[in-house]
Symmetry: D2
Subunit: 125 residues, 4 copies
């Protein structure tokens, strides 16, 4: 189930364009309000969680070794990326840039010198 193949990794920009055309061809833009896309995103994240909910942390770390489970998880991750990318496009947000800007904030709140060694569980936002 590895993704380390020889083909070019696609870019978010290309995926964004494909999703835009996909929606336009089917006249689905009417449904793609930020509100609906956020709900769809939450729905797919829910499906992803459902695949992991009964696993122990260790089992979850090995899940990609199981072809069926790994395939299902990869499909759900793909769905989450679809809706996140589409939502970002509709809102005019650059996903990587937004992530980077947030990461700078978090780094400021949890500087390495202060947190290395002890378990700082309050990472991220």
């Amino acid at each position: 189930m590895s993704d380390s193949e020889d083909r070019e990794p696609g870019t978010i920009a290309e995926l964004t364009e494909r999703l835009r055309r996909f929606a336009e061809e089917r006249e689905w833009q009417q449904f793609h309000t930020p509100k609906n896309l956020a709900m769809a995103l939450a729905g797919e994240v829910g499906e992803l969680l459902a695949e992991l909910q009964w696993l122990t942390p260790e089992e979850s770390s090995r899940l990609m070794a199981d072809p069926e489970l790994g395939g299902r998880v990869r499909a759900e991750v793909g769905d989450v990326m679809i809706y996140l990318t589409r939502l970002a496009d509709v809102l005019g947000i650059d996903l990587v840039r937004a992530a980077d800007d947030k990461l700078v904030e978090v780094a400021r709140r949890y500087p390495v010198e202060r947190v290395r060694g002890w378990a700082a569980k309050a990472e991220g936002s």
Copy 2:
């Protein structure tokens, strides 16, 4: 609040590497089991939904015009991207490729000729 600036858009690969180093510097990898990362992802999606929950669909379409609300939504989208990218890295999944593979499936299920014109609401997975 537009992201259409002149600098180079970052790539997911670069973001992935930054997140990896971020976690390693702080010795946080121990917390980054797929289970925990999926929960963190769901938590951030919840915070994103909270920003949109009382808006009408039309208000949600205009939200980026409001500097404060737009800034908060962009920050939450950034958080969601952080955890999705980190989860994909830990699982060895290429986000764009997983999304593309899913899109091919959906296109097959909802070919343009069949769905254009009528409201097919069951898009995606």
Copy 3:
């Protein structure tokens, strides 16, 4: 699809007991850590959102009039209640009391005299 029948409405205490026995009979308590139950809860809420995501607000207000859609939504609400009740039991939390205590807080933050009339969107937590 109305639930206004003549039989006694069941109580949460009885549902809690049934869920406890249900898990014990199948030796599933091992999977019912608060972490797993919270993930399961999020998974079911995701499935509920998926039923509503493409509806307009007005369509969502009429959804119970559609026997199929209404039945699916009712089933998902039932699943959410199952996991919320089980999680509350495992944590020793009284659901109604916890909700009431929170409501008192919210009422204090949004007193009627102050908010009646204008659209105060920041209700709840």
Copy 4:
């Protein structure tokens, strides 16, 4: 943080009525479309998950022993119950009955004789 006190446990019917009055007094019913309430529910479940995301399963089992963490989790559970109860009311769904009906289905799918002993992880819906 125990809820085993001497006062009468409240009923869902009473909570439902209190929430109805709470919304009407503030003229907030306009915001309580099923769509919005489902999003609010997802938002609160996200906040609940955020409290548990970095805990090990064992730490999550002991969390109510910590007054601060236990208090925050109880508050989030209260918020989830608030929105679930309000959503059920707006849709005309009896929460306990919907849960019971779903439980009967699950019991049929996973009869005790068949599943006791081995780890059947596909419980619930």
